[in-house]
Amino acid sequence: MERADLISGVVLAVFGLMMLAFVIPMQIEQAPEGYVSPRLVPNLAMIVVVGLSALLIVKTLRQTQKPTSLPEIVFSRSEMMALLKISTVFAVALVLFWLGTPLGAGVVLVAGTLIFLGERRPLILTLMPAGLLLAIWVLFYKVLGTAIV
């Protein structure tokens, strides 16, 4: 869709300009005399991004009549909902990990995703998290003899 190409081109060009004008100068100090500047390659990469984004904008504006590589609807509702649901599961799992229960985080990650994806069979909701956690425990703690958490 031309609109998506146009918007992404504008967003990337603005992002690149912001990086060049503010972030790179603020986040990378100048090198001592005689050294190649550490800003050189990040600056060059962003100049390329800005230049190519500008080209993308121009090309999109000139080719509005031509077919595009993107589908009519770029972001479908079901995919955005899936992104939201999976993000929620990850957020809950991370909170549990912070609270010191990595086991609980693992259970929530697997069982939560299963529930969000429509799985309702209690046996699957119980056995799958348990089986995966057990398999990882056997692989790392017993077979490889190394702790991961």
């Binding site: 998506a4 090198a31 190649v36 800003r39 990040p42 080209l55 999976i86 429509g118 799985e119 490889l144």
Partner: protein
């Protein structure tokens, strides 16, 4: 040759063969799990080798490296989730083949191509390692910088449908590679005061996020559709759909040959890596095909091209390691510590000081290739059953394994944050058709590109007129420009054809 024969005698003992088989099997399983690639497998297994004899220890590690390189195709074909970034092109045609009920055919071709590529590349290593040491010295920073730039442009132009978007993604990849402490001046770059970023962004959580998690989110959004399609698609009843036919062998053998050649050359050149090899091979096969538009819909040649090159890179990447002591890949870098630990210091002198140990290593590598064929062929029927599992059961398992893989990288939650951040970036990149693969390639070769670029500036004293002293660099610079022109023309031609096809339809619909 005498040393090699004695090497086979040393390796063909029950104990050593047992450890090679354990290594290949372990590697195959690790490779099949998203995020747990060969580098992770070898790194985790090194402590296991402390108690083994040097030959068995190195054979085990070589087995893991080879097994996981081949095993990463399993998840790429069955789940559309590459075990490693280098298997991403395998998924492009392997997954559609699996959806068509030809999972076993794709898995078999992936395995055969892997074994052939790996075996032939090992022969290349044996033939070239010692003699190449002299010629490899000719490739200096200026030449390597030009080669890396050419590779990036070539891949950026080929991956995805828009060269502009591909090159933007590549530039972003290089940009993200600059994050961390700069190696020459030790000045932190874009770390925002976070100590975790001092060493830069780790590839493992980034690749897992961009490749696996973002794909799982999209699949979750289309879970019902995929499951209903999977229910319709059964393992084909036709025996021809479960095996590689003679006609397919005829079509694929030249592809495997080309893939092996590309993989071997890419492996020999330090810094390019398996992802560059597999994508170059896939792109070259697509371009050489009479039906390039069918690639991505289930062409068996796509699987053969990607897997042969992917696996050819591993042994070939030992050429610079053995010849010059320079690791050509992440695995080679990790293996240095294991080789030194077991009394073999990589470099030109090892051919003089320990020729028998080198021959034992070569024999172990060749045996591992054959054992890989047996283990892979035997286990494939079990792996192929994954296709019958509903996608709603696969997604939670993959997400969980991805988290484990990312977490293992640093044993901190920061890796998980990185993974999730790049998953979001990968999701939008996929939907907007910005090649996330080009981004990853840019990220992987970024440090080498920057290093060689800075060295080139110093060698050339910031004077372009000194470039004629480096003809190889000029050749690759010209090739880069030609590639941009060629791909741009090719894309414009495709767009013009699309317009011509869409024109009458639009007019009809308006009428």
């Amino acid at each position: 040759m005498e040393h090699l024969l004695v090497g086979f005698q040393n390796v063909l003992t029950p104990v050593t063969l047992f450890w090679v088989t354990v290594g290949v099997t372990l590697g195959y399983v690790l490779g099949a799990l998203p995020g747990l690639g060969k580098a992770t497998g070898v790194a985790v297994a090194i402590p296991m080798t402390f108690y083994l004899q040097p030959v068995a220890a190195i054979a085990l590690l070589i087995g893991i490296a080879k097994g996981s390189a081949a095993g990463s195709a399993v998840s790429a074909i069955l789940l559309n989730t590459p075990g490693e970034p280098s298997s991403a092109p395998t998924a492009l045609d392997g997954y559609p083949l699996a959806r068509q009920g030809k999972a076993q055919k794709a898995l078999k071709m992936g395995l055969f191509a892997s074994v052939i590529g790996d075996f032939l590349s090992t022969l290349v290593l044996i033939a070239l390692a010692a003699p190449l040491a002299r010629y490899a010295l000719l490739i200096g920073p200026v030449e390597l910088c030009a080669i890396l730039l050419f590779s990036l442009t070539f891949i950026g132009g080929l991956a995805g449908r828009s060269m502009l978007k591909g090159l933007i993604a590549a530039a972003f990849g290089v940009f993200f590679a600059t994050i961390g402490i700069e190696t020459e001046t030790f000045i932190p770059r874009m770390t925002f005061g976070l100590l975790e970023l001092d060493d830069g962004i780790s590839l493992i959580p980034m690749a897992i996020g961009m490749l696996a998690i973002s794909e799982m989110v999209i699949q979750a959004g289309n879970a019902r559709k995929i499951d209903s399609e999977a229910e319709k698609i059964k393992e084909s009843a036709s025996p021809d759909d479960r095996r590689v036919t003679l006609a397919e062998w005829r079509r694929c053998l030249p592809v495997i040959g080309r893939g092996t050649l590309i993989g071997s050359v890419v492996g020999i050149l330090p810094g390019l890596g398996a992802s560059v090899g597999s994508f170059l091979s896939y792109g070259a096969t697509q371009r050489a095909s009479k039906a390039p538009e069918k690639f991505g819909t289930g062409m068996i040649e796509g699987v053969a091209a990607a897997e042969s090159a992917d696996n050819a890179v591993v042994p070939a990447s030992f050429v610079p390691l053995f010849a010059l002591g320079i690791p050509g890949s992440v695995v080679a870098a990790i293996l240095i510590s294991a080789l030194v630990l077991h009394g073999l210091t990589p470099g030109p002198m090892m051919f003089v000081e320990q020729p028998q140990m080198v021959a034992d290593l070569y024999a172990a590598m060749l045996c591992a290739s054959l054992i890989l064929l047996i283990v892979g062929y035997t286990g494939q029927r079990i792996f192929a059953q994954v296709i019958h599992v509903p996608i709603r059961l696969i997604i939670p398992a993959v997400l969980f394994l991805c988290c484990v893989g990312a977490y293992m990288d640093t044993n901190t939650l920061f890796s998980i944050y990185l993974m999730l951040g790049f998953a979001l970036l990968g999701f939008f990149a996929r939907k907007l058709d910005f090649s996330f693969v080009t981004f990853l390639i840019g990220f992987v070769i970024g440090p080498n590109l920057e290093l060689t670029f800075r060295q080139s500036l110093q060698i050339l004293d910031h004077d372009v007129m000194r470039l004629p002293a480096h003809p190889i660099a000029i050749l690759f610079a010209v090739l880069t420009i030609l590639t941009v022109v060629w791909i741009n023309r090719s894309n414009n031609r495709h767009a013009a054809q699309k317009t011509a096809l869409a024109g009458p339809t639009t007019k009809q619909s308006q009428i």
